[in-house]
């Protein structure tokens, strides 16, 4: 590829870094991701409740896994993506990156809360306690606080660009918590069980894994739809003085 052709395709890709182009593209993608999430969720729950057998040790209480694990994975994954875009915004001063980080935070906080809530309701019948100050649980609680801190810090600073910078630093410092959550079950002696899914052999039945992975993809596509939808609102909020935004809204009215 010649350098001019490479530059041209680069320009094509960077086109979507312009808030106006991103707004249009995201608007087209949201319904598709939402629809895929709904279908995967229905199939995943059907398998989770009607195809997957009762667990030999935990009885029916294990069925919480079909929302607990997807929510916990998404809470960690979304944090890394949020910190990545916040960092890109901090280094390159790109407007859209910081907007994306802001759009991810509430959905990430929701996922972290769901992981903790469902974990508490799973912990009580299996360990005898809703909550223990164990490495995995504590670091996940810190993840929820990091999301809430990001949102609170951003809304506490009036100047949006300064708010972006300050909250980006918070997001980047907090990234250290993600590997701590992930490896906590190996590094410390913890009550939380180890990974059920490992490369080269899982500790749970095949149909359970199938249901769980379908729910993971359902949560994943839901999170993408929710984040893109919120990002469009953030773009409008920040670009309301721009002609394209006013024309776009006027066309819909």
């Amino acid at each position: 590829m010649s350098s001019s052709a490479r530059a041209a395709s680069g320009v094509q890709l960077f086109r979507f870094a312009a808030p106006a182009e991103f707004y249009r593209l995201a608007g087209k993608l949201v319904p598709w991701f939402a629809a895929v999430a709904a279908v995967l969720g229905v199939v995943g729950l059907y398998i989770g409740f009607f195809a997957a057998p009762t667990d030999a040790q935990q009885g029916e209480s294990y069925r919480i896994i079909f929302i607990h694990v997807p929510a916990a994975w998404m809470a960690m994954f979304l944090y890394v993506v949020m910190a990545f875009w916040a960092g890109v915004g901090l280094v390159f001063n790109t407007r859209l990156s910081a907007m994306l980080a802001c759009a991810i935070a509430p959905t990430g906080a929701l996922m972290a809360f769901i992981a903790l809530w469902t974990g508490a309701l799973w912990g009580r019948p299996t360990w005898g306690a809703y909550w223990v100050w164990d490495a995995r649980l504590t670091s996940t609680l810190i993840l929820l606080f990091l999301y809430c801190g990001f949102i609170a810090l951003h809304s506490a600073i009036d100047d949006v660009r300064r708010a972006d910078k300050a909250s980006a630093v918070l997001a980047l410092v907090g990234v250290i918590n993600v590997p701590i959550i992930y490896f906590s079950v190996q590094w410390w002696n913890t009550l939380h069980q180890g990974s059920s899914i490992k490369p080269g052999g899982s500790s749970i039945a095949g149909i359970m894994v199938t249901g769980m992975l379908l729910m993971v993809f359902a949560f994943w596509t839901y999170a993408i739809a929710a984040v893109l939808h919120r990002a469009r609102s953030v773009v409008l909020e920040r670009e309301q003085r721009n002609a394209w935004a006013q024309e776009t809204v006027a066309k819909r009215a």
């Binding site: 009607f50 209480s61 929302i67 809530w117 799973w122 609102s233 409008l236 909020e237 721009n242």
Partner: protein, 59 residues
């Protein structure tokens, strides 16, 4: 998986409070997020329209 009856399904082998407590709260929270997303979008569009009426265009 054959639950036999709907009441068996609801009973969740004695873990009804835990399993349904997890699923119902998750469903309510996700539904709440969807409502909040729509509210925020509506408000953002209103603000843009408001700004357009007051003539605050920059580019």
């Amino acid at each position: 998986m054959n639950w036999g009856s709907f009441s068996n399904f609801l009973a969740m082998g004695g873990y009804a409070g835990y399993v349904w407590g997890a699923y119902v709260v998750t469903t309510v929270l996700i539904a709440t997020e969807i409502v909040m997303l729509r509210t925020r979008r509506r408000r953002a569009m209103q603000d843009v329209a408001q700004r357009a009426r007051s003539g605050g265009v920059e580019g």
